[in-house]
Amino acid sequence: MARKLGIVALTVGWLAFPVPLFAHHGAASFESGKTVTVKGTVTEYVWSNPHVLVKVDAKDDSGNIAHWVCEAWNPVTQTGRGWTKNTFKAGDEVSLDINPAKNGQPVGEIRGRIVINGTEFKQLPQ
C-alpha cells in the first residue's frame, strides 16, 4: 500500500491528535489519530477557500509517482499560522506530516511537521 501511494517515508504515529476548533469538517473522511509523511515535489499550491491545497508528486522506492493532495485550512486561518500565498511554489521539495484519507486515496490533511527545501517551516501556534 505504501509503495502504491508513493509514500517515501511511512511514519505511522498513533497520536491523540485533537481536531482543531476551527475544523469545519472533522474526522469523518480522515484518520485523525494517524500520521503519515509525504515526501515529494510540489506541483501546485492553491491559496483558496474552502481549503488551501498543496499538491505533491511523491515517488516510491520503485519510482512510481502518486499525486497527493494535502489540504490545510482556509487562507485566513492559515495566515494566522504564518502561511502566505507564497509559502509553497511548484518545484519545492517538501515533507508533510498528514492525516491520510480513510479510504486509502492519496489525500490528507496537513497536521504536523512541514519541511520545505530542507528547512522546517515553523507554524505559528493556533
Binding site: A23, P50, L53, V69, V76, Q126
Partner: protein, 296 residues
C-alpha cells in the same frame, strides 16, 4: 572607495529601505487577531462608554464547529467527532427537541466534527453550497471578528466571514407581525441600561440552520441576544433561542462569550464562500475521500 562600490552600497541600502516601507504598508492589511494566550491575565481596561458597541470585536478564532458552543453535538469528553449516528442520543448537553424537532434534525446532514457528521461531499448544509448562512447560524458558527457600526437609528454588524451583515433597528419599532421570511430575520434592539443592549430577532427562513451541527428551527424562532459591555475593551455576548415548534423549552446557545476589542485600524481579512471554489475543492478532495461512493 571606487564609484562602483559606492553605487552598490547605495543600491543595497535603497532596496532595504524600500522593503521596510513595503512591509509597513502591507502590515496594515489582512490583520490576524491575537490568540487566546494573549488574553491570559488580561488587565482591566477601565469603564466602558455608555450605550456604545462601536468597534471591531473578536471571539478569538472560530467557534461552534460542533454546534452551538453551549450544546456541542459531542459525547462527554469531546468524543464522537466522527459521526455515524442518526440523532444526538448520549451527547453531553442534550437539547429539548419536540418530535417535530427531532424529525427535522435527522434531515440535516452536518459535516462538522460531531456525532452526526457525514463526509463533507454528502452534507446538505447550506453553507456547503454557499447559500446564505442566515441568522443565527452566522453567529453560532465562525463568529470570528465583526465590525459594529452604530448610527442614531441602527446598530449594524458586519461580518467578513461569508460576507454577512445584520441591521438592528433601535428606533423603537416593533417586530413585524407577519413577515416575509428573511435569511437574516428582522432585528430590533434597545438599551436596558447604559451597558446592556438586548436584541430580538424574528422572521427567519426555516430553511436555514441554527448551527453547524444542523440543529433545525421553524419560522416561529425568536432569538434574543444580549451584548453586555462589561469593560471598555470587552463585551459579554449571550444568545437564547425560543422555538416551541422544534424545542420544548428555550435554550442558551452562547453564554457570556467574551468579545475582545481590537484596534480601530484592524483590517479584517475577507473570507467569502465561492461556489466555484467549493466545486473545485469537492472535485479534488471531498469526492475522492468519500468512504462509501454511490454505486453507478
Amino acid at each position: 572607495m571606487s564609484k562602483r562600490v559606492v553605487v552598490l552600497i547605495v543600491a543595497v541600502m535603497a532596496t532595504g529601505m524600500l522593503s521596510a516601507l513595503l512591509r509597513a504598508q502591507d502590515e496594515k492589511w489582512n490583520n490576524i487577531p491575537p490568540g487566546r494566550a494573549a488574553y491570559n491575565g488580561k488587565k482591566p481596561s477601565g469603564p466602558a462608554p455608555r450605550r456604545d458597541l462601536t468597534g471591531i470585536w473578536d471571539t478569538v478564532q472560530t467557534l461552534g464547529v460542533s454546534g452551538a458552543i453551549e450544546h456541542p453535538a459531542l459525547l462527554p469528553g469531546g468524543r464522537g467527532q466522527e459521526g455515524g449516528r442518526q440523532d444526538e442520543t448520549g451527547i453531553a448537553k442534550p437539547l429539548p427537541y419536540t418530535p417535530a424537532g427531532l424529525e427535522a434534525l435527522k434531515k440535516n446532514k452536518p459535516s462538522g466534527p460531531g456525532v452526526r457528521q457525514v463526509d463533507s461531499v454528502l452534507t446538505n448544509d447550506p453553507a456547503g453550497k454557499c447559500d446564505p448562512l442566515g441568522f443565527p447560524y452566522m453567529s453560532t458558527w465562525e463568529f470570528r471578528t465583526i465590525n459594529v457600526v452604530q448610527t442614531p437609528r441602527q446598530v449594524i454588524i458586519l461580518s467578513p466571514f461569508y460576507g454577512n451583515y445584520r441591521v438592528i433597528w433601535t428606533d423603537g419599532r416593533k417586530p413585524p407581525s407577519d413577515p416575509d421570511p428573511r435569511y437574516n430575520g428582522y432585528s430590533v434592539g434597545r438599551w436596558v441600561d447604559d451597558y446592556t443592549f438586548v436584541v430580538e430577532t424574528t422572521g427567519m427562513h426555516a430553511k436555514t440552520w441554527l448551527d453547524h451541527a444542523g440543529r433545525p428551527h421553524s419560522d416561529q424562532l425568536k432569538v434574543e441576544e444580549t451584548f453586555h459591555r462589561v469593560a471598555a475593551d470587552t463585551i459579554e455576548f449571550t444568545m437564547k433561542f425560543t422555538d416551541p415548534v422544534m424545542y420544548t423549552e428555550p435554550w442558551i446557545a452562547v453564554n457570556k462569550l467574551p468579545l475582545h476589542q481590537l484596534p480601530p485600524d484592524f483590517d479584517i481579512p475577507e473570507l467569502l464562500c465561492s461556489p466555484s471554489e467549493f466545486a473545485e475543492y469537492n472535485n479534488v478532495v471531498a469526492t475522492p475521500v468519500l468512504r462509501d461512493p454511490p454505486k453507478k
